[in-house]
């Protein structure tokens, strides 16, 4: 995944305020959001409930008008509408006309998206096969399970062969098998050359499919970056447990290796970045210390996420004080 790809989504200083009613103070839901999405990547917008994920996505989809700031998709300002034929969208919880059959449902959206009449039957059949609903094409959506509806929703988002697909919580409310099916579909979209933008609060899914993420908390982007960043060695740490640590060695570890030391009496536990573990071990052995164990600590996205959220909350509490 290269960061050199073309920017397909660009959001700058986006602000959205909702007025709950006349005379009441406006509530700022998006507070100066800036981020970008590159071509052919799977981008995850991650945040706790109420952080502004859905508002952000609705703004990009033109369902909500921004109060300030700009956003563009495929180089077009989101206020325009002509570029929407290159954009697919799956809303958070898919509410569809449940009296339509799978085929009628896709035909409806194919007509709206201007898919030529001659191409429609084949396109619909292909998509149904693609999302694994070939057997249910003639059944009404009312009889679909949650997972089937979600897959039908994805088929609807792809009916006009868009370049970029926006998915709002595509895996929420699904069982593990359902989630795996959606995950596989998203990965296939990338291999077909599409760009995928998804909102989610399920971090394991992000870890498994996203190339890049942005963490949004209380209407602000707290982090934006490559997913490898989290999992890469300079972010990953290891716990090294040592015995016979001299005071001299301890200060060396803290100063030279910037290790976090925890004194357990006989033993000392040092947490260091994984990539300097071998250097550290060499230094320890040279200083006559005994190495009892080396355990890699997997710092998950979840912990970064939680840290970010906690930081924000702390900061706000302190401001409040």
């Amino acid at each position: 995944m290269t960061t050199e790809g073309r920017e397909v989504v660009r959001v700058e200083g986006l602000v959205k305020e909702f007025r709950p009613g006349l005379g009441l103070r406006a509530k700022r839901v998006l507070d100066g959001i800036t981020f970008s999405v590159q071509e052919n990547e799977i981008f995850g917008l991650v945040g706790p409930n109420g952080a502004g994920k859905t508002t952000m996505l609705k703004t990009l989809m033109g369902l909500i008008r921004p109060t300030a700031g700009t956003a563009s998709i495929l180089g077009h300002d989101i206020q325009e509408s002509g570029f929407r034929k290159h954009v697919g969208f799956l809303p958070e919880v898919s509410y569809f006309y449940d009296y339509l059959t799978g085929v009628e449902f896709l035909d409806f959206y194919a007509k709206l998206s201007g898919v030529p009449r001659a191409d429609r039957p084949e396109r619909i059949a292909t998509l149904l096969g693609w999302v694994g609903l070939s057997h249910a094409g003639d059944a009404r959506l009312r009889t679909y399970s949650k997972g089937m509806l979600q897959r039908a929703g994805i088929a609807q988002a792809l009916i006009h062969d868009p370049q970029i697909v926006f998915l709002d919580e595509p895996m929420s409310g699904l069982d593990p098998l359902g989630r795996k099916e959606i995950r596989d579909l998203i990965l296939r979209l990338r291999s077909d050359g599409k760009t995928v933008f998804m909102n989610t609060h399920i971090l394991s899914d992000v870890e498994m499919v996203c190339d890049r993420v942005a963490i949004i908390v209380e209407g602000k982007i707290r982090y934006e970056g490559q997913i490898e960043h989290f999992i890469s060695s300079d972010q990953q740490r290891a716990d090294v447990v040592l015995a016979n640590v001299s005071a001299e060695l301890a200060s060396t570890l803290e100063e030279r290796f910037r290790a976090e030391l925890r004194d357990h009496g006989q033993q000392v536990e040092a947490r260091v970045p994984e990539k300097i573990v071998s250097d550290l071990l060499r230094a320890c052995l040279e200083a006559g210390a005994q190495v009892l164990s080396v355990t890699p600590v997997r710092v998950s996205l979840e912990s970064i996420f939680l840290e970010t959220v906690e930081e924000t909350t702390h900061a706000r509490e302190q401001e409040g004080l």
Binding site: R65, S81, F89, Y95, K111, G153
Partner: protein, 256 residues
């Protein structure tokens, strides 16, 4: 554009005809058209007129009820159930959606008007009541009136809840039949501002009474072409303005 509007209109009809209340209202309308025969026996004279009066009034009343009942939730329901999300995020402009929904509902209500008209004509035929051109003009203008009502209901549905929209649309329906009295009232007033206000309201509010040819139909009174085509033309123009306004309001709406 036309294809998209037609697709939305078509789907609106499909959804509307699934509404059971629609059938209940049509059933009561047809029932009332039939009850007219019973009511007419209370009078020993002009029974055919009473049958047709009750019949035409039933068609007008129930088609108005259907229009308001289905119209006030037309847009709001799509927003509330979020079915609109996947539609306006396709290459469908919001005004296209609004017009498509409007046309779909008008088509639905017109189908009901046709069903009720057939019942009316059947009862007239069976009771030997006369049927002349004025009856068809009256039915045609009823179709025009409901198209106006649906437009007004669609307009309110674009930005408010069904409850409020039904109050507003119902209010427009009532006032729309009184604008002529309003004008009369204004012209009798000595206060200049009252006069002006009454005149402004008369021109602003829909003159639904101009769509009422019931009396002409009942008595076979002569009807000039202007009494048929001008209301229809007026309706078309009024509907265009209302839907344009609705589209503008709808365009700036946030779907939270």
């Amino acid at each position: 554009m036309f294809g998209r509007i037609a697709t939305i209109a078509n789907n609106t009809v499909r959804e509307a005809v699934r509404n059971k209340v629609l059938y209940a209202l049509v059933f009561f309308a047809v029932l009332l058209i039939g009850v007219g025969v019973l009511l007419s026996t209370l009078s020993y004279v002009e029974q055919e007129r009473i049958i047709q009066d009750v019949g035409l009034s039933a068609i007008r009343l129930f088609s108005a009820l259907i229009s308001i009942f289905l119209g006030v939730g037309l847009i709001h329901k799509e927003v509330d159930r979020r079915t609109i999300y996947t539609i306006v995020t396709k290459s469908v402009a919001r005004w296209e959606f609004l017009i498509g929904k409007y046309l779909g509902l008008v088509a639905t209500v017109w189908m009901q008007v046709i069903v009720m008209s057939v019942a009316f004509l059947a009862v007239s035929y069976l009771t030997g009541a006369p049927i002349h051109a004025q009856h068809f003009y009256a039915l045609l203008l009823t179709a025009g009136e409901v198209a106006m009502l649906v437009a007004i209901a669609t307009f309110f549905s674009a930005f408010t809840t069904p409850m409020l929209a039904s109050f507003f649309t119902g209010g427009f329906y009532v006032v729309g039949h009184l604008t002529r009295d309003l004008k009369q009232l204004g012209s009798q007033s000595d206060v200049e501002s009252v006069k002006t206000a009454a005149n402004v309201l008369y021109r602003l509010l829909p003159d639904l009474e101009s769509f009422n040819l019931t009396v002409e139909a009942l008595h076979g009174l002569p009807v000039t072409p202007a009494e048929v085509w001008f209301p229809l033309l007026y309706g078309l123009a009024y509907i265009s303005v209302v839907l344009l306004l609705g589209s503008v309001v709808f365009h700036f709406k946030d779907f939270r």
